[in-house]
Structure formats: C-alpha cells, structure tokens
Symmetry: C2
Subunit: 305 residues, 2 copies
Amino acid sequence: MIEVIFLGTGGIKPTPERNVPGIAIKIGKEIILFDAGEGTLKQMEIAGLSPMRISRIFITHFHGDHYLGIPSLIQTMNLWHREAPLYIYGPPGTVDFIRNLLNSGYFRPSFKVIVTELVEGEEVKGREYRIKPFQVLHGIPAFGYVFKEKDRRGNFNLEKIRAMGLKPGPWMKELERKGKVKVNEIEIKLEDVTGPKKKGAKIVYTGDTEPMPLGGIAEDADLLIHDATYLTEHEKRDSYHSTVREACEVGRECGVELLVLFHRAPRYRYVEYKREALKICPSAYVPRDFDRILVGNGNVVLKVR
Amino acid sequence: MIEVIFLGTGGIKPTPERNVPGIAIKIGKEIILFDAGEGTLKQMEIAGLSPMRISRIFITHFHGDHYLGIPSLIQTMNLWHREAPLYIYGPPGTVDFIRNLLNSGYFRPSFKVIVTELVEGEEVKGREYRIKPFQVLHGIPAFGYVFKEKDRRGNFNLEKIRAMGLKPGPWMKELERKGKVKVNEIEIKLEDVTGPKKKGAKIVYTGDTEPMPLGGIAEDADLLIHDATYLTEHEKRDSYHSTVREACEVGRECGVELLVLFHRAPRYRYVEYKREALKICPSAYVPRDFDRILVGNGNVVLKVR
C-alpha cells in the first residue's frame, strides 16, 4: 500500500489556490518526489511530510514550474544534518541544469547529491519498487515516469496448509525467507500455501505532454496522472500540452483504474475546471493540493484534505 | 506616500504560517522588491500585486531564502509579454549567481534582465526615490538597503499668496514647473508661497546581519526593518544574525519611527514570538505575511490583513 500526496496540482505558475507540480509517493517511511516546483518545501511542511524522508527526486523536464523547489529542499536537509545521499534523476541536460541551480548562491550540502541523466527505459530500483522513464512530447527533453511497487506474496492459507497435512509453526518464517523449505521430508514452496499474489501499485505520471499512445506503458495502471492543462482545444492552441478530452481518451485506451487530471492552467478556478472537466470525462479525478490517494492491491482510495 | 507590503516575514526556511523574505515597496504604480525568496510569486498573487509592476529587485545576499523566487517572477513576466527591462541589484557575486540561476533550465526571457553588482554607497536613482546599499555583517558579501522617497513641496498657502498681493491663477502652474516666476514684475519662488516640505518616506532594510551601528544610515528612518531572527542569545549562538534585543537597541540608537522585527526563525510560532518579542522591545512591530504599512510625510500607518 502506497500513498500519493499532491503537493501542487497546477501548472505554468502558481495561483492563490494551488501550487505548481509536486507529487510525493510515500512507500513505507520513504518519500519519492516526482517534480518539485517552487514552493514544494512549504507544501511539504503544510502536508506534514519531512524532506528528510525524501530518497529520490524525479524531474520530468526543466521548465521552471517543475524543478525550482529543489534548492530549498536540499538546504533544509543540510540544516537538519542529513547524511544519507539524495538522488536526483531527469532527462538529458539534468546534470548541467542542477549544477547551475546549486551554483546560484552560497550552497554547500554536507551530504552527497547524486544526479543522474536517465535514458528511456532505464530502470531505477528501490527495495520495494522500480521506476522507469519514458519519453513524452513536450518540445524539449522530457520524461514521464512509471512507478511500480513490487508485487507481494498472498497471505498464508490455513486450509492449504492443513490439506498438506501440516500445522502452522516456525517453518513458515523460514519458508517466507527462503521461498521453499522441507517439512517432514516434503518440499514446500511459498506459493503452495499462500493465497493469490497482492498486486503492487502502478502509477504513471506523464509530466507535461501532448497526448500520445501509452498502451504498453500505462496498461493496468492504478493511477494515470496526466497533463490536462486546458479545457478546450482553443485554449490549448499549439502548446505542448493536453486537453481534458485528450487525457481522457488516453486513460480510456489504457484501461487505467483512475485518471487524474493534472497541471491545470492558472486561468481556471478549481470549481470551474472541475465542473467542466467532469462533463467531458465523468470518471476522472480532479485533485486539489494536499489531496491524498491510497493505492494498493488493485484498490484506489481517495482521501481529500 | 508609499506602501510597504510584507510578502514573506520569516527566515531560513518557510513554515506553514509564513514565507521566506520578500518585501514590496509600492510607489505610484511601480513595485520595488527587496529580496525575493522562494514563493514570492505566489505571495504576490495572494496579495494582488502584479509582477509586471516590478521595476527593480534588490537582493541583500545569496542565501537561498533571499533570492530563489526570482526565476518564476521573470518567467511570469515573460508569459505576459513584458517588454520593459527588469533591473536586479545585489552585492559582489550577483552577476554570476543570477546567470547560473537563469541557466538552470529552459529559460529565455524576451525582455532585458539587467544585473548590476553594487558597491557600498552607490546610488540607484528612480524618478521618485533613491536607493543605496550598505554593507552588513553576515559572513558573506551582504547588503542592507536605504530607500528614500523624494521630499515634495508643501501645499500652496493662500495666506502667503494674498500677503504678497497676488491672486491664485495660471502663474501657479508655471511656478510649480520652473521653481520661480515673475508676476507683476515681482520674482516669486516656490517656497515663498508654499507650506513646509513634505518629507519623503525613508525605509531601511538590513537583510540578515549581526547588530552593527546604523547611526549615519538609519537616522530619522520611518521604518527600520531589522534582522531579529532569534529571541535569545542562546538560540542565536554564533550565527550571523541578530536577536530581538540587539535589533531593539539599534533601532533606539537611530531614533527610527518604527522598528520592524524581521526574519524570525522557523522554530517560533507567530503568537509566541510576538508575545516574547514585545516583552523585550514593546514599541517594535512584528509583521505577519501580507501586512502593509503606509509611510509618508513622517506618518506611519499599519494595515494588517
């Protein structure tokens, strides 16, 4: 079970009502950030999330609304005597951009900041998850990301255990650790005595993009957090973004559990955008800053602030 | 009459209650910013101030809480098709720091951004004001700034006019333009027929500093906005900041009209800091974000949000 916390749901620039992009995925005690627009630190403070928990930051692209919150996060970690390294990932260009950003003032983190430019399909592996970038269409080097929590074994099934002539006991711990074990000369595999696997959460975040087929990428995703900057084609014009309708079609084609309409333009007020967006795409979700979504084992639970 | 708007009153890092430093001085339609910490754009949006009105930004020093709000301000001006140049001033190092900051992403302002490293005492002149930097004690190159609005002529005084045997008429416009004029062969100077001069506002902002004598600098200031990061010596330790008591003593020595205690540390909640600070310095003012102060002709008027 993981938690997605929307730190900023708007795009382009902040409004009094919402901040620029920042999405926290909380898995165990670890926080992974996807984009960190200006003000992300303050949003985390309000949300009660500690920057010390951030292990990795994934930047979709280097437009100001997606990355300018990085320096103050690092500075705060430094203030609090962080020792663990911080990993920052992004598309080609990331290393130079972050170097310049951190050379914009008196700034000396006492822990390691490890910046990596990813290539499409390269996998970043955590103990409990894997994250993969994919190229999107935004006119500059830009990634979306697929976050996939590891699947977990099903619960022990007492009926299966008894059917094999066994009793619950310490052998179960050993079985869990090793995957197989011998009891009374019988080899038992973990899957012999457990129920169906628990599907890990799959979350896809496009960042800013024109609509593009996400079939192989977002298939079976629990959440697809998609650029839906504009309500109409007319407002979108020739910008490298998506309309609500376009995001809606991509989500439908991929069969995602929940489509989240993200990065709405400053011109819209929340209530107005939501009303119009749900006329176009009734099953979509329009998040506010600080909304949380719990995802795990195929379930999606919304927790609105 | 000018207006001072506190966009961020805290220091070091933001708290849910307050932002990092940003002070707007509004004179006519023009806005001059002193420091622009992360989130200044959003604070301006909330305060109803347009970034398009900003003519000049003065940075006290290059710690992150004082300048990281610059890029999104420029980006927003660009989005709104600004043509007027933007002037940015700061201590030695400013040019390289701003260059790196603006090279941290895809960023191409279509108007001129003119960055100037000031030397102590150098004067920046606007039509209605002058601004001068002074060196402060913060362990790195750091300035405070003196903002001085021009004094204005007193009102026309009908008694004086009549005493000179004259009647109000078109000659008064000419007198105002030229400073002197001949009426009925008598030379009249502006000061002959007007009341006492109206003193322009004087505002001194220290930025971050250890206490230092400001006698020649802040004398007769309407406002002294002074570093008062900590309530006690114990909390201050060996940081390059001031305590409330130290700020209070500096303000008293200079005979300023109103001392504003600024840049309080994140550890304090507003009510707690204010209660303790006013025990130490009862005449001081503890601003919240978005408080406004009107200053003109020797008067100071507080407008609390």
